[in-house]
Amino acid sequence: MVNGLNLAFQYLQQFSVLVLAAVGLAIIFGIMGVINLAHGEFIMVGAYATVFGYHDLGLPLLASMGLAVVVTAAFGFVVERLLIKRTYGRLFDSMVVTLGLSLVLSQGMLVLRGTSEPSIPTPFGTITYGAFSQSLYKVALALVAVGVLAVVYWLFTQTAYGVRARATIQNEEMSRALGVTTERVYSQTFAIGSALAGLTGALLAPLVSVNPTMGGTYLVKSFVVVVVGGPSVVLGTGLSGGLLGAVDAGVTYFYDQTMGSIVLLVVTVFVIRFFQDGITGFVERARDRLAAEGA
């Protein structure tokens, strides 16, 4: 029997995971044109930092999550200075370098900490209805995901950094001529994207099993959302997270998780084929057409 409430919770979780995992990648890809194949491993680093803070340092959960964000942002900053900076304008090379980094990170973490981590209890308790119970944390996660999108929107439209970043996307040379240090914009962007990956890992740590290979799952998920979303970071990530979350949750609910992932990926291949610029590209074209008709 279809249980609407269970399906809704499933949807909330898929939506939040997709949006959170993708937003950092979308920012880095959108502004720097760099595809960070180690993004999943950055999420993994965030999750590990949370577990480390919570269990090894004995910090409260919220502080551990804060620690994770700071650690991942700093890590991203260093990676950008050491590696990514050297591959600007060489798109394929940046993919190879970050793929290498992802192997080093996941395997390095395995050597360092072994195959599994102690779990973190899920906060906020549960809601029980009939024979089912669901964690309220999933609701909180969805709220945070929407909140993150709002903060990113604010960051890019209301702050000096946002103006510089958007100028850099539109015309890098002109921005430099007008005094924007594009190198610094890139550096900050990568750190912000990494911080968001760290936040994702931190938020997922109480919900999933933290292990060195967890990055792979989230990398594919975040890719899919970015590609389907298209060029607009906030709108694209929100819409495609909403759409793909529904696909994933629906298929997972009626079949199983593997089928859910497969259908998700097949949908993505179709979107790449028919809508090169994803949902937002489609929306933009429709808007332009309407505007042209109105004029």
């Binding site: 595809i35 200075r81 050491l82 590696l83 900076k85 050297r86 591959t87 060489r90 798109l91 394929f92 090379d93 993919m95 190879v96 370098v97 793929l99 290498g100 980094l101 992802s102 192997l103 080093v104 990170l105 395997q107 390095g108 395995l110 050597v111 190198e183 550096s187 792979g216 594919v220 890719f223 899919v224 590609v227 593997t258 992932s261 497969i262 990926l265 097949v266 993505t268 291949v269 790449i272 084929r273 028919f274 090169q276």
Partner: protein, 384 residues
Amino acid sequence: MADDHALAGLGERFEGPNTVGSGRGFWVALAVAAAALFAYPSLTSIYQATQLSRYLVAAFLALSLAFVWGYAGILSFGQNAFYGLAAYAFAVTVGNLASPLGTTAAAAVAVGFGALASLVLGYFMFYGGVRDVYVTITTLVVTVVLNTYGTTASQVFVGSVNLGGDTGVGISDVVLGAGPVTVTLVQPLTYYVIAGLLVATYLGLRVFVNSDFGRVMVAIREDEDRAEMFGYDVKFRKLVVFTIGGGLAGLGGVLYMFQSYSVTPETVFSAAAAALPVVWVSVGGRKTLLGPIIAAVAIEWVRTAAAVQFPEVARIGVGLLMIVSILLLPEGAVPGVRSVYGYFDRHGLVDGSRRATERVRHTLRRTLLGWLPGAENGPEVARE
């Protein structure tokens, strides 16, 4: 005289701007290397020949990626997927048609399946206007789908063969033939077959990339829009290249089955498996054919040895190799060796080494200072 002329005419087809190595010296060296390759089993042991034949199979995969990425600019994370699909197709066909003729047919079917899979995917991508990184992402996504499906398909039967999920599909032996004539492929015969096909494939690809079609491939790699403006059908050419690449990978997959007898999703569809060909090709030099072959054999050799000694560190080594090779040798090792040779050829040994140390010192200083934020142009400014 007449012979020389004929040889020169023959040589022309194998030489050109798109491949490394030309002239009598190079061909003599290559002949010596090929002779050593064929003498290897009788000089060492069957065990060592078996090991080397595994690394030679990797070279097919490396050649297939070098062909599509290095020559036509299509970075594909799907070459190992075509390789895996062909290996699965071979195992499934052999399982269903258990006869020497069936096995021979299976080899052809499997190579064709690799080519067909890349033809379908390529048609979908190139004629759908998918370009650049989106091609790379699409191929990666396809590989991930195959991995997800492969690991869970534990009760999926094709004919009478179970795809086996994580454990994959196996065959018992490879007996080729037709009617009364049969050959059982065992080592070192398998080794000779693989080595012979590798040499033939290498020479064939040399002719291909130096042909007119090869020149257009390079033009597409350098500037797709410009090639299109010149009137070339870029989509069609990319599709041809991608299909040949898939067929080559498929050949590698069949040869893999010839000597491993079993295939699992982990060995052909996993992310680590998708990364390896990219490592071989970028380390060896993607714009060459010889570099990827040498790199594939050398890296697999070291990686296998390392995996026995320190299994955990081997993958870290692969990752580090990818990073270091792209940052320090963006063109790969073989072009690097060639330019070092050219450098000393121009400057002489003594003067050349003095200049080289000076340059290394300068580069190191710039690199180290470049790591500090805000010091991007430090040394250059100081010099001026």
